[in-house]
Point group: C2
Chain length 221, copies 2
Amino acid sequence: MNLVADRRIEEKERRRTEIIDAAESASRQVGLDALTMDEVARTARLSRALLYVYFKDKSDLVFALADRALAALQGRFSDCAKSQATGLDQIREMGRAYLSFSQECPTLFEALARFELHSPAVEHATGAEAACVQSGDSVHQVMIAAIDAGVRDGSIRADVGPPMLVSITLWGFMHGVIQLAATKTNVLAHDGVAAQSLFEQALAMATRSLVAPEKNESNNE
Amino acid sequence: MNLVADRRIEEKERRRTEIIDAAESASRQVGLDALTMDEVARTARLSRALLYVYFKDKSDLVFALADRALAALQGRFSDCAKSQATGLDQIREMGRAYLSFSQECPTLFEALARFELHSPAVEHATGAEAACVQSGDSVHQVMIAAIDAGVRDGSIRADVGPPMLVSITLWGFMHGVIQLAATKTNVLAHDGVAAQSLFEQALAMATRSLVAPEKNESNNE
DNA sequence: GAGAGTTTTGACAGAGTGTCAATAACTGGA
DNA sequence: TCCAGTTATTGACACTCTGTCAAAACTCTC
């Protein structure tokens, strides 16, 4: 019956989610590098072989984590868009949200960083990686909307560039700095640089790259 | 004798360099992920076991590649500082040099990206990773000199921020965007975004974040 | 309860890593 | 030239992890 088939599909989806949960939980302990399929299986209380029914291989599973990260970011970014008046403030808040996310969910951020680092060999990615590309696009849609709004309300200069290009650039900027802050905190501390002040600097500079030249609002936090 | 000891040390250094050469050459074919110690050993015509005399483990060897990348970048950045008049132009040229480097030596760039992604667990890193931290600092010194020069010659706004912080931020910005361009070229192409135009956008925005507000030079390439 | 389809698993083969005792190569002195 | 002593190099081993497969267990239908 169709009912049964539907339930099957649902349960299959649930199993998949369970496995991703297990992977997330297990990697929180040791990081993604040291994460083994065996450990994930044990955490999920399943046999290791079953993981390969749901995921092509280990990196496919990690990409599923990255996809989860992107979904979470899309949610947070959408909230930012709602809570702020001007487009510029929306974008700025998204930057902060990205930082918060990386601190609250370091494992998911690590997975995302791996996705960013990976170059799909063939034209079309498969499995979870394809989903990541999709989700990444959705995130950019939210950012683009904010940029467009900013240009319209005058908080962002009109000649900033094609919104898509600006969005991707900002993403690269923020991801780069946050990754630096996340992985090199202790090294930076050695140079007397606090991760927080690094991020504030990045935010100030990113803002300056968006704002109109005549408008000079020096009273930012 | 001391002479003999010196020669021994020299030869040891040469062997080490040979191994790194082999690793670089071997990884050019398949990338760092698929690189095996066996393949490196075969390329260097040495036994696999010997590699572990010179490098703690595989990631130590990869960090040695990253160190080489940083040394190369320091050289290129120094050239940029000499060839450009204003501090801003020096920084801009360094951005371009970073991009060129990532395209000319994708393997070294990949190694560098891994180093950026790795967080040293303990306080003090050991082996090649420690060398990377050192080399990274040297690169920042070159950048800081350019920023200082820019502030002095007026091409960079005086209130840009502490040079060290600005330098690290710019590094994060550029690394993030270049990594994006390097790994996601085909994905971006799908959205009608060329890697080159992404980088030009990034450069334009980074410039805007540095330049004084009243000074508006819109005729940048 | 037998049969068809689906999910789950134990066991296997293969690849790669890192280590170590043993061997080879070199050096300086008798 | 031969002999220790030191250093460089290696083959072989133990171990971990991966990804696959045929078989077992389970579920549904009749």
